[in-house]
């Protein structure tokens, strides 16, 4: 963990020290809303409405360009001092405009693109959803802010850190079948979602088949039938109280636990801290490998 932290810090320092990347402006690209956007010059005043985008910008040395973030961006520390401009569904459009940004990064799910574009502000939707997109969107953000080299370095570093954990878990003697619950309704993660990929890389066998989709609502009887050896996202007391669950292997052996708050948050952010999320998950799935 410590090594990982030092590594990521050194990457950040490298990135900060490096000169602006090789992007040449005007830059034209297609964003996640399928729009063609042209940036005339390197953006200097950026508002980010996605925590993962905020983290990526900071990790590639563009943190100082941020002039505002959404309510949920809380990492790294320095962004917590920036003006908050609301959330995805309740953005404070006036506050955003008042910050005079020359670029606003949005999710493709909000409805900000229209009003902000009309106010003459460049809007680009960048939201990574799948595992691979975390890397491709990091490179996209690198191009947008003129930090291509740093973005490439970050991606290399992330892949290296992930591979390091994967090498350990790949050869684990037993890989427990696991059920990861992201919402008690219950919703889980399919193997192709970025969380599902992390779960597999952490050395678990996801009980949810790919055919059920990326974030499926699961029929409780399916979980009982699959009888997972490990349950993540539900504490043991809650799990045991659910109809039929007291007979599950995971409940009987005590292998059911709520994710610690910080890990839960890491897992929900498809950004530069993906390797940390994987490491945290792998330590839970295979504690014996990380002694």
């Amino acid at each position: 963990m410590k090594a990982l932290l030092t590594l990521s810090i050194s990457v950040m320092t490298l990135a900060a020290a490096g000169a602006a990347g090789a992007t040449s402006y005007p830059l034209t690209l297609t964003d996640d809303l399928g729009r063609t956007v042209t940036l005339r010059a390197e953006p200097q005043r950026i508002v980010s409405l996605l925590p993962s985008d905020t983290e990526t910008l900071c990790a590639i040395g563009a943190c100082s360009k941020l002039v505002g973030v959404d309510d949920y961006s809380d990492y790294p520390q320095q962004v917590t001092k920036l003006p908050k401009v609301g959330g995805l569904y309740d953005p404070k459009i006036e506050a955003i405009v008042a910050l005079r940004p020359d670029l606003v990064l949005v999710s493709k799910y909000g409805k900000l693109e229209g009003p902000l574009s009309q106010a003459g502000i460049t809007v680009i939707a960048v939201n990574p959803e799948t595992y691979e997109e975390v890397f491709t969107k990091t490179l996209t953000l690198g191009r947008i802010v003129g930090r291509e080299t740093q973005a490439k370095n970050l991606v290399t570093q992330m892949r290296r850190d992930i591979a390091r954990v994967e090498i350990l878990t790949k050869n684990a003697v037993r890989k427990p079948t696991a059920y990861l619950e992201i919402d008690p309704t219950p919703y889980s993660v399919g193997p192709n979602s970025f969380m599902g990929v992390l779960l597999t890389k952490a050395g678990a066998r996801n009980i949810i088949p790919a055919s059920m989709g990326d974030f499926p609502k699961v029929d409780p009887e399916f979980i009982v039938k699959a009888n997972p050896q490990l349950i993540l996202g539900v504490d043991r007391k809650t799990a045991a109280a659910r109809p039929g669950w007291s007979t599950l292997a995971a409940v009987k052996s005590g292998q059911t636990l709520d994710l610690p708050g910080d890990l839960g948050q890491l897992l929900s952010r498809p950004g530069p801290r993906l390797p940390q999320a994987l490491l945290g998950l792998a330590k839970i799935v295979h504690p014996e490998l990380f002694k």
Binding site: F222, R242, T247
Partner: protein, 321 residues
């Protein structure tokens, strides 16, 4: 006939699901569950699915479907308004708000029906106070007041959902109606609410029949009209709060089931209410079966998607006849 339908619903609801289990095995599992108190044996595998997941879920469907339908039938009778259902008078919105408060605040599950009932009663009290005209509660004023109270409470629920974003999906699922994770314990918690509420309404069936002749006639026949309205509303609130507490807001059942019964078997409340219970219970079990075996995923979505068009078809047919 409706008894057979309900039995069929229970058998199919217990036999089918997202996990395929052979009929013989289902019977074995039921026997296993029934004999468990005698043998003390522990259930495993498919026995668990049938006995601890499907059967309580089916029973919850029967209880909730029956409660909402009986309340709908009674409301339609007591206010002589075909559009009345448990959502009238803000009963369901009140229950939903109470349950949402409990969910968002993260209170223990056992408190959910209690807060639901308290808020349902508060909602009814406000509605009645708004609608009151001297000592009388004229139906139009009651319904108007109910709509307003219901809307305000729904808005409060939505505000809570947006604030408690961590649990937003849980609360959203709840407001769409969901029978998932209904266990025997939940069934036993809801049972007294359903029995008490529906039982009282069934006992009042004869008085409700008399009320159909109009307030004046009913009064001259010795029916204490205002008190009857109050008791019906209270009984229906108890049953609705129990139904809404664990499974959420399930649309259209309370509205359409009494109409279906009326079209097929006539409008007398002594047949209408019990038959509504049977049909409502069966329909909800079938709807839940559809929900858990198709991507529609939640029973409230199924009832609304199927119930809405069916209701319109009923309206057209009635007009054409």
């Amino acid at each position: 006939m409706l008894v057979a339908l309900l039995l069929l619903a229970v058998v199919l609801g217990t036999g089918l699901g997202s996990v395929t289990i052979a009929p013989g095995e289902v019977l074995g599992a039921l026997w296993c569950g029934l004999s468990r108190p005698l043998t003390g044996a522990e259930l495993a595998g498919n026995d668990v699915i049938v006995w601890q997941i499907r059967l309580p879920r089916v029973m919850m469907g029967v209880l909730v479907g029956a409660s909402l339908s009986v309340c709908g039938g009674a409301f339609q009778g007591v206010f002589r308004n075909p559009l009345a259902d448990p959502y009238l008078l803000g009963v369901a919105s009140g229950s939903a708000l109470g349950a949402t408060v409990a969910i968002v605040a993260g209170w223990p599950r056992a408190l959910i029906p209690v807060t639901a009932l308290l808020m349902a009663l508060a909602a009814v009290a406000i509605t009645l106070a708004l609608a009151r005209e001297g000592r009388r509660f004229p139906p139009t004023r009651l319904i108007l007041a109910g709509v307003v109270v219901g809307s305000v409470l729904s808005a409060a629920t939505t505000a809570l959902i947006l604030r408690g974003e961590d649990r937003a999906r849980q609360v959203l699922a709840y407001t769409l109606g969901d029978l998932g994770f209904s266990g025997w314990h939940d069934v036993l918690t809801v049972l007294p609410y359903a029995t008490l509420g529906c039982g009282a309404l069934l006992l009042l069936a004869r008085a409700l029949d008399t009320l159909q002749l109009g307030d004046l006639t009913a009064r001259s026949l010795g029916v204490p009209v205002e008190r009857l309205r109050l008791i019906v509303v209270l009984a229906a609130s108890v049953a609705t709060a129990g139904a809404v507490a664990y499974v959420g807001v399930i649309g259209f059942v309370g509205l359409i089931v009494p109409h279906m019964v009326r079209l097929a078997f006539g409008a007398g409340h002594r047949t209408l209410l019990p038959l509504s219970a049977l049909l409502g219970g069966s329909l909800l079990v079938f709807a839940d079966l559809l929900a858990r075996t198709t991507p529609l995923s939640q029973v409230g979505i199924v009832t609304t998607l199927l119930g809405g068009p069916f209701f319109l078809w009923l309206l057209r047919r009635e007009r054409g006849a």
